[in-house]
Symmetry: C2
Subunit: 328 residues, 2 copies
Amino acid sequence: MNNTTLKKISEILGLSISTISRALKDHPDISDKTKQRVVELATTLDYEPNANAINLRTSHSKLFGLIVPSISNWFYNAFIAAVEVESRRNGYSLMILQSGDDPLIEITNLKLCRQNRITGLFVCISPETTNIEPFLKLKELDIPVIFFDKVPDAGNCNKVCVADSLSATMAATAIVNKKKKKVLGIFGNTNLLMTKKRLEAFTETINEKVNKIQLTIDHATSSEEAEKVMASHLNKKPDTVFCMSDEILIGVMKVIQQKKLKVPEDIAVITISNGAAPKLYYPEITYVETSGHKLGMLAFSSMMACLAGSTFIQELTIESILVEGGSL
Amino acid sequence: MNNTTLKKISEILGLSISTISRALKDHPDISDKTKQRVVELATTLDYEPNANAINLRTSHSKLFGLIVPSISNWFYNAFIAAVEVESRRNGYSLMILQSGDDPLIEITNLKLCRQNRITGLFVCISPETTNIEPFLKLKELDIPVIFFDKVPDAGNCNKVCVADSLSATMAATAIVNKKKKKVLGIFGNTNLLMTKKRLEAFTETINEKVNKIQLTIDHATSSEEAEKVMASHLNKKPDTVFCMSDEILIGVMKVIQQKKLKVPEDIAVITISNGAAPKLYYPEITYVETSGHKLGMLAFSSMMACLAGSTFIQELTIESILVEGGSL
DNA sequence: AAATTTGCTGCAAACGTTTGCGATATTGTT
DNA sequence: AACAATATCGCAAACGTTTGCAGCAAATTT
């Protein structure tokens, strides 16, 4: 156990602990000569400040918490990657916890965050989470909470989201512009606010066209289900299929491959995605980008704003862009 | 700032701090009546023990570090997910850091881990990392280090890996059994030990057949490159393509889709994978499974063994299985 | 020469716990 | 009734820092 402490250095050098502490952080009170001696010995002894002691003394931990349903997901992945990089760049560490969409584990994770005295929390709640009191309680302790992606309905909290309505509208507009006539839209879990918003905006945009478009809506909560749903609608010969998410896209594309349908001649495809899945196919799938990376950056800057003292509650969204593949 | 401490509780109850501390952890010295009073007040005051103070006092942090090139990767994802769940289940937290394959960031991350006085480290080094001294130094401090996936050559450290040679052999054997004649094998970065092992085992198995199989080998370090490589070899009409990894598979499959080749009639496909990518296609791709999840579980149990006092240095591998899709 | 400033360093308390040991009161034993 | 054994609790030190304040010598000003 090599652990070097300020005390050990001070004893060797015949100086006081406080002098060592100050020398190491370039305090003006300490002479250059002393600083040099201290720094030198500290490096040869591999001194590493004890974060626990610092946190305890200063009562701020330079640690962010992040709670997410699952890290095995393209979108959350990009989000986490962005937050992780920015955190490190700003001198913070990140504690990542998975809830597995289980409200109980969510609470356990939250407790862990509190015990570690995090300075801020990023959280994406599970669909089953109804009581967000425990999260709001953090705010009372002056610990900023940034909800992302799946956010609660309540108004008194900071949220960053993708522009659900807008991105669905953009996809619908793209379909309209291509003069498609028979559209199949497959959406996700109807309990999710995200699904409701996307569904509403999508149907509205499609239906407001003068030359009526024939629109069929169905739902799937997994790629396997999407596969079945897609297969069941093929006899109606849709000329376009819209997928609300990567999961659905993957199911849909399996059917398309299976039936050897040509994209976009036999059937056009458009989706909303973070960008990875559409690039798996040929032709690449046209998609409305909802970037996990951008959302992560936004969440982080929102966090920093809170820490800088902004008490302004805001609900932010990232803009979407249409990325053209060859599938529409 | 609501923060309840043992001291606050002790003052309210007119007891000493140590009594509160002991009562809260069900110490036999404390009477049931007192315990009850303490626990009651603690819960109503939302008492959360300060992890920093505990770590400082006990000098063990219940915190694992995990350093990985990137979390945006199916395999590492599954690995991390497994370790994260197991950690929480055993009362540990996990600090996840990305190195971006940059040895400098790797060192920064390592320093962060040391400063946070982690109890153990899981690390997958970047291909450019030559000096593993800093990692081994942790071991001298009695902090177990488990190298996973991309591990150093040095012998004096704990490693958990996928069975590179075996999985490549299994894939090759599957190809041989199907009596394929013209095989294209696409492999990754030649600097990686993983690539060398897989390449060697694969070619050996293919070549030891009596009825000679015509084998072509090429390399690609990204899916884009794999796409080009695959396209450049099509004129030789291989009947089978073997992909060393998901990245390569994705590039290969794009070409196959583009050229409208039928799988497996026109060309058979087999890959080594964690399992997610092969399921994206129809027919699903036959693959030799190298499970990130299993590796994570193995790494974790190896870590727990080290913490339990095992000084036995071991180099473990997980077994692979062949998962049949319809592509071979 | 006395008074003031400046430059450098040390003292000691505090952050919130844990824990060995000693103190007191209660009970049981001879 | 004296003594031993138990049950219950408090004291105080320690973990490794940070930081306000005080101390003291040397340099500078009156």
